[in-house]
């Protein structure tokens, strides 16, 4: 199953025979870049963008010194990743503000990219920042699009403007006038989805732009878009001179090569990402995370952030201390389960781990199982928790009854605990550190 093998694994395979240290040779780079190119294409990076990218990176990589801490494969990935990050630009999640209010933001893109939903999210975000935005319904074609935006505005708690289904240019103009009267400092114009080759509708966008002179023109593009993304982005940019890009539906399992393609052909910054269906599911664009994702290395950084944000440092310190002193007990186990629970949906977390997405099934990491385990530990006495050796067969029966589980469940938990404890011991002796160091040093 070449398709789902990660780039890291494939490169490691290529370089496995190579033990000598030193500089990367041309032949090694050529072999590695073949794999990089495939990884990019599988991520839906446009063919020509991938081709140019690979030749550029190859030039850079020849003769590069392999850092002491890295394998040649890791070194190549580092170069590729750094270059990807570099090309996708820094994090620029700020919206330009017009010196003469209102600031007008115009949304554009293909059908189904998520413009209307994103307009609501932007409104919500700006309101949280203390602005007074107004959403404007200029999609006069899709049935109920106006109503959808209206509901979005009401969910976001922001103002809404509609004026029938006749002339979107007039609607936009009147909305800006109304915003001035009502004191709205930001106007977000939702437009109809359209194909970039539809002359009449592209003309309509040009006319809206001419009429209201937007500060921001944001191209909204679906993260799952294929090779076509370059043509879409190029055409919208040529016609409207867009100011930025929003990539939507990044909560899916797509590798999202569209981000690189779109940036490459327009040169415009990617400002935000849509990451869910709720009104608050909008995030800044992080090029480093995107680079890992495009290369199929999972969203490691997001995972780390998420873990850091939700794990109680003091609690974990205590657990760590006990691990070091080799007094790891069920009490610590319970704390760990609770911390995992705080990080959110376990399946979401798993999906961010490189390679894990396809290897684990929902059944492997069952949240009900963790709930069950917590119940079992909570049915133990304090003494039992601190000294698991005390738990004899008769105690197990009592614990099973107390937690509404079976003796098998209790046994399974105790077994897992013993295994974990053994792993911790290894970790103390430095074995695990070595293990992790080898696999995760990208």
């Amino acid at each position: 199953m070449g398709l789902f093998e990660s780039l890291g694994e494939r490169l490691n395979h290529i370089f496995s025979k190579l033990t000598k240290r030193g500089k990367l040779t041309e032949l090694e780079i050529k072999q590695a870049m073949r794999e990089v190119r495939i990884a990019l294409l599988e991520a839906d990076v446009n063919f020509l963008v991938a081709k140019d990218f690979v030749s550029k990176v190859s030039e850079k990589a020849v003769g590069e010194q392999i850092l002491n801490s890295l394998t040649p494969g890791q070194q190549v990935i580092k170069i590729v990743r750094d270059e990807l990050v570099n090309l996708m630009g820094g994090t620029q999640s700020k919206l330009e503000v017009s010196p003469k209010p209102p600031t007008v933001i115009m949304m554009c893109g293909l059908q189904g990219a998520g413009k209307t939903t994103m307009a609501g999210k932007l409104g919500f975000m700006l309101k949280k920042q203390g602005k007074k935005p107004m959403l404007v319904a200029c999609d006069i074609y899709r049935p109920a699009a106006i109503n959808q935006l209206k509901i979005g505005a009401s969910n976001a708690g922001v103002d809404f403007f509609e004026k029938g289904t006749i002339n979107p240019v007039k609607i936009a103009e009147q909305a800006v006038e109304q915003a001035k009267r009502m004191g709205n400092d930001t106007v977000i114009i939702d437009t109809a989805g359209r194909l970039q080759i539809n002359e009449e509708l592209m003309k309509e966008l040009e006319n809206i732009k001419k009429a209201v002179n937007p500060t921001e023109i944001l191209l909204t593009i679906d993260a799952m878009t294929g090779q076509e993304s370059v043509n879409v982005a190029k055409e919208f940019n040529d016609r409207l001179d867009i100011t930025g890009v929003i990539v939507t539906k990044l909560d899916g399992d797509t590798r999202g090569g569209v981000a690189l393609s779109v940036k490459a052909v327009t040169g415009k910054p990617i400002k935000f990402c849509g990451v869910g269906e709720k009104i608050g599911d909008i995030e800044p664009f992080y090029p480093d995370r995107m680079a890992s994702r495009i290369l199929g290395m999972g969203d490691v950084l997001s995972l780390i952030d998420k873990a850091q944000a939700s794990v109680d440092e003091a609690e974990m310190k205590k657990v760590e201390e006990n691990i070091r002193k080799n007094t790891f007990s069920f009490e610590d186990f319970l704390i760990q389960f609770e911390q995992i629970g705080k990080m959110g949906n376990i399946q979401d977390i798993i999906s961010m781990i490189p390679g894990a997405g396809t290897k684990f099934k929902a059944t492997d990491v069952d949240e009900t199982k963790i709930k069950k385990y917590k119940a079992i530990i909570q049915s133990m006495t304090k003494k039992e928790r601190l000294n698991p050796d005390l738990i004899k067969a008769s105690n197990r029966k009592r614990i099973a009854e107390g937690s509404a589980t079976t003796i098998q469940d209790v046994n399974a938990l105790i077994k897992q605990f013993e295994q974990t404890k053994q792993m911790m011991k290894n970790m103390n002796s430095g074995k695990l550190q070595k293990m992790l160091g080898r696999n995760f040093k990208f």
């Binding site: 070449g2 398709l3 599988e42 059908q111 189904g112 799952m224 294929g226 993304s229 590798r255």
Partner: protein, 300 residues
């Protein structure tokens, strides 16, 4: 920055030179490495995955050798035929009645619009249609579907936003039985295929149909956005795992996208039929799939 402008220009030029080269190579020249590289470009640009492209090209090379072809023009026809053969293995059969079609897919692919168009197709064949608005999640999804139902003169059974989708399907089935309808179309909320909870909910909705309406010929149709890339494979795979797909519909092919991922899909799922292709906004723009037209479009 300099890199970008170079890349943009490069793109333009490469594209131009490629299309010029193609004319050149397809008018009776010798077969060489460039020829295969450029074929690879055409196929990958059509969103056929790298692995499938290698397989197709390997097959082409073998047949060129076997048939002792020398000219690129003949090879191009051969390549087209190879692709058509693969696609023709999954031809959709005529529907049987009473019919239930549950429509699924990720957000924004055009499920609701497609249901509207399917309803009109059946209406023009004088079939009695009931539409179940089981997308109780997206704001105003019901309003949008109601407009389509009215256009097709179909009975529309709706749920409020936030209502239980399975209950809506249950009501719609009762209504279809009472009215002796020929067809029931079920719209479901768009959902990303990697969201376990939402997929579980979909399974539940799907089971209502088999349980409450066992006499119906039950189709489960996935709508895939034609502009999608390789993620289409993951979409079909996970929706299939959840509900057991029978049909595929590809939308938004009136642009310049080619939806070449279908070639991999039909090889992977021999029992799934490619039912419809959406090529525009009006009801007539939902076409029956034709492998020959489809492949020719990739080489246009």
């Amino acid at each position: 920055m300099g890199f970008f402008s170079r890349l943009v220009n490069g793109l333009k030029n490469t594209k131009k030179s490629f299309s010029e080269k193609f004319k050149y190579i397809f008018t009776g020249n010798e077969i060489d490495e460039d020829f295969f590289e450029e074929l690879e470009y055409i196929l990958i640009s059509a969103d056929i995955g790298t692995e499938t492209v290698s397989e197709i090209l390997d097959r082409l090379k073998a047949e060129i050798k076997q048939k002792k072809l020398k000219k690129t023009e003949d090879s191009k026809e051969l390549l087209k035929n190879i692709m058509k053969d693969i696609l023709n293995e999954n031809v959709a059969e005529e529907f049987e009645y009473p019919l239930a079609i549950m429509v699924v897919g990720v957000n924004g692919v055009g499920k609701t619009t497609t249901i509207g168009k399917i309803a009109q197709k059946f209406a023009s064949k004088k079939k009695k249609v009931v539409i179940a608005g089981a997308d109780t999640f997206r704001a105003a999804a019901g309003d949008q579907l109601k407009v389509w139902a009215d256009r097709a003169k179909a009975k529309y059974v709706a749920g409020e936003q936030g209502a239980d989708a399975s209950a809506v399907v249950f009501d719609a089935i009762s209504s279809a039985k009472a009215r002796e309808a020929d067809v029931i179309l079920i719209d479901t909320a768009g959902r990303l295929h990697n969201k376990i909870n939402l997929m579980e909910e979909l399974k539940k909705i799907g089971k209502v149909v088999s349980r409450e309406y066992p006499e119906a010929h039950y189709h489960k149709l996935i709508v895939v956005d034609g502009t999608t890339g390789q993620n289409s494979i993951s979409q079909v795979s996970l929706f299939n795992e959840a509900v057991g797909l029978t049909d595929i519909c590809v939308t938004k092919l009136d642009g310049t996208s080619k939806a070449g991922f279908l070639i991999e899909l039909v090889s992977k799922y021999p029992d799934m039929a490619i039912r419809y292709i959406g090529v525009g906004e009006s009801a007539d723009d939902l076409l029956d799939f034709d492998a020959s037209d489809f492949v020719d479009a990739i080489f246009e």
